[in-house]
Symmetry: C2
Subunit: 320 residues, 2 copies
Amino acid sequence: MEKWVLAIDLGGTFTKVGLVNRTGDIIGEKVYDTGAKLPYKNFLTKLENVVGELLRTHGKDIDVVAAGVGAPNANVNTGEMENPPNFSWGERVPLAKSIEEICNLPTTIANDANAAAIGEMTYGMAKGMKNFVVLTLGTGLGSGIVINGKLLTGENGMAGELGHVNVDPYGRKCNCGLTGCLENYASVTGLKRTVFELISEMPEASSLKDISFNHLTGVMIAEAAHNGDPIALKAFELTGEVLGSKMADSAAHLDPEAFILAGGLGKAGDLLLNPTIASMEKNLFIAYKGKIKVKISTAPSAHAILGPAALAFHSLLDHS
Amino acid sequence: MEKWVLAIDLGGTFTKVGLVNRTGDIIGEKVYDTGAKLPYKNFLTKLENVVGELLRTHGKDIDVVAAGVGAPNANVNTGEMENPPNFSWGERVPLAKSIEEICNLPTTIANDANAAAIGEMTYGMAKGMKNFVVLTLGTGLGSGIVINGKLLTGENGMAGELGHVNVDPYGRKCNCGLTGCLENYASVTGLKRTVFELISEMPEASSLKDISFNHLTGVMIAEAAHNGDPIALKAFELTGEVLGSKMADSAAHLDPEAFILAGGLGKAGDLLLNPTIASMEKNLFIAYKGKIKVKISTAPSAHAILGPAALAFHSLLDHS
């Protein structure tokens, strides 16, 4: 019987659950409110109902062998969410253990970006690759590093936090408490902050000067850039410059085959890609110049459960 | 019969050869001029003589099973030295193949810092560790990264070039052609450059103002610092600050258990260690704060062949 996995994408707002096979087919996908500000127990009760219904409806004819979960601040080694921001579930949330009890399936958890990296290797742009980095450029910047075909987890299960490498010690304040972290420059939020810095500096007319910070979106900035808006164009250029220079530093650590850019900011396509590649190549140590691919992920965000699904299949390999 | 390996430390000036066992005992060590500016063939002829004599004298009673070589710009995947600086041996030197032919032993090569990392894991400060980074702070800055007990080699065999992560895009020119690479700040040469920058800025009396750049050594700067020299003290402080901040960036990639500082600059001890740890902790992402050890290697440089020896034993594990 074909093997399927239960895949769960646990986000700050919505949780997505579905069954996925090795080729990426999805059945029975459900989306519901996570309830991050309600007690953890409520989340588990809801999950138990949703998963129960899913397995009753679809589980009779297929072999569901494992569960994979992507969640904020998930530690792949301990199976816990550690101090997840914007959640009221406590400092250490025993997510893997809870889900194992509910589903009676071996459960692997990882943070969203780590799950995305395994997803790209299994179903996406990184098929056949063994050494690569996925950068998820959304509200923040997450990363997943794959080495010799395995997720890099590190000594404490927390490797791959490239959102917090330093761009400028006197730069932008970060939510994490540090100053100048990469995610304040290379993310949708970072792009917005760059637009506002440029508005403060550039006298040129720009449609972006009619929009407040809280109303501004990445899509608006991309549209303005496509219309030739000087501030929007400059903002993408600077974002790519910062991102590319830090990718060059990552290359000096990892010697990867590719960087894959995912998340909302990736949708900007060449607006982001061209200055990023130019800056990376300019800053690369000679041993790596011209050797590293940079690609934009084509995974639709509707398929957020493919990462967790791939994680579950990947963990089966580890234990076989 | 106890297993021994042939260990070769190929440096720009001297080559060291010896036989080493799993506990780090060394027999028959020889040191001779490398002849980096003479033809490659001369080096091989000399090596063949030295190794032949070594094996005739000591090889009868022991089982020599492999060779390990540390060499500049050695690519662990291809077995070649790639564009080694200050050598006239060509762009791609087939070192592993040549040594295999001469010694009739399976041969593994790696750059000096990678070999040092395996050496620290086998014989030194990193015994029992699985995830750590060795930084060799000498004329330049080399690095070796170990993940899950294995040397990180990367897609092209060139991972771990932390000497070339960027400190300042408008900073010091590097031999590699880039600007602002870490090795121009955190190495013996970097320390000297910092002293000269400080001499240009600080009016205070300093014994270092009597010494030319070419005569200045790391030992002199350390001695001046121990005597309270303000420029020497400030130079170590700034060196540690830069090094620590870049170690924090490395931690955000790798989540290591430890950084081990080796090479000439490491001999400065607390003068280097204290500002380095302070700066690393200040810049660490919260997930890593207080969790990462920083140690100075105690390996005497006289034991430069222990790294290559460990590399040879390590490669036996890979193939068993």
